[in-house]
Amino acid sequence: MSLHSDARPMGQPPAKRPPIPVKILISGGFGVGKTTTVGALSEIDPLSTEAPMTSASVGIDDAGVASQKTTTTVAMDFGRVTIDESIILYMFGTPGQDRFGFMWNDLADGALGGVVLVDPSRLEDCFVALDYFESIKLPYVVAVNSFAGRPTMTLDQVRHAVNVDPDVPVVAVDARDREQVKAVVLTLLRRILARAKARSQR
């Protein structure tokens, strides 16, 4: 199926129709930089249904001793990138905690791929997202966010620790850096492309 699969005579302008939305998910544990990642590439300030944390959540969402973060994403943040006149990319930062599992299917339905953000000092926080993406066979990449002043692991160490398939890319990213976030998205898209090519040759 192609973008303009509707039959129409040659030479006539295509009927006015909305662009195609492309959805990718930016997932990972609390405080790992999902919103920062979305904001680095988005053409709009990330939109949000974010609400302040309640005291009931303290201890559940432990952002670590070094974190100044006092609120968490209880719904989702997202940003928009207009690719061309007929494709608009939406990046949805998705809460990575188990207790938001009720949202996952809605978020993932129709998604082209996912980015799992990893904080090397709290590796286990990404496992829920990894498990979910694997269970629905969504193409994904692992992006290790570099936090200034925190001890870092090599990408090989992270790969070994999170135990992903050898063909899953594990890359480093500074979530604040637009070019680096762009590179992560491109890595994901190339993985999606490789899968599409493999399937078309079957």
Partner: protein
């Protein structure tokens, strides 16, 4: 029996309507109470304005589905305030989630009402990109576009 019974004794002020928007008020408390009394579980406030329906409905509106206002359709007095807010937010193609964030309604409510508006021919909805996941040409175009950002 029903968990909703627990709300029966709450003082009237506590019937917050967080999802009706800051500027919107119901016409009267009486109307609200009638609705609540007539409808089991009617205290489930956000979905009062969807008639209790949830999800994208037959139109299958996803959170990323783009919506655009069909300008040849004139606003109708029968549209609810929330429908008008949605229509106004769709003056260019905009994702359902973005509409919800901009007008301050829960995404589930916008999905239902947008589905109604699509069914009524007021809004046009985009196709899903899910079927394009295996379209090599489409993915290549996407890569080209992101590279050029």
């Amino acid at each position: 029996m029903s968990g909703y019974d627990d709300y029966e004794d709450e003082p009237q002020e506590s019937f917050g309507r967080p999802f009706l928007g800051r500027e919107i008020r119901l016409e009267s408390e009486e109307r609200f109470h009638n609705t609540a009394d007539d409808t089991p579980g009617g205290h489930n406030r956000p979905y009062l304005i969807t008639g209790g329906r949830t999800g994208g409905g037959a139109a299958n509106i996803g959170i990323e589905t783009l919506l655009i206002y069909e300008r040849q359709v004139q606003p109708d007095r029968t549209w609810s305030t929330e429908m008008m807010m949605i229509v106004r937010a769709c003056d260019r193609p905009v994702a359902c989630a973005e509409v919800a964030a901009r007008i301050g309604l829960p995404i589930g409510v916008v999905q239902v009402l947008a589905g109604d508006l699509v069914a009524a021919g007021v809004l046009q909805q985009s196709a899903s990109s899910a079927s394009l996941a295996d379209d090599v040409a489409f993915i290549e175009r996407l890569i080209h576009g992101v590279s050029a950002l």
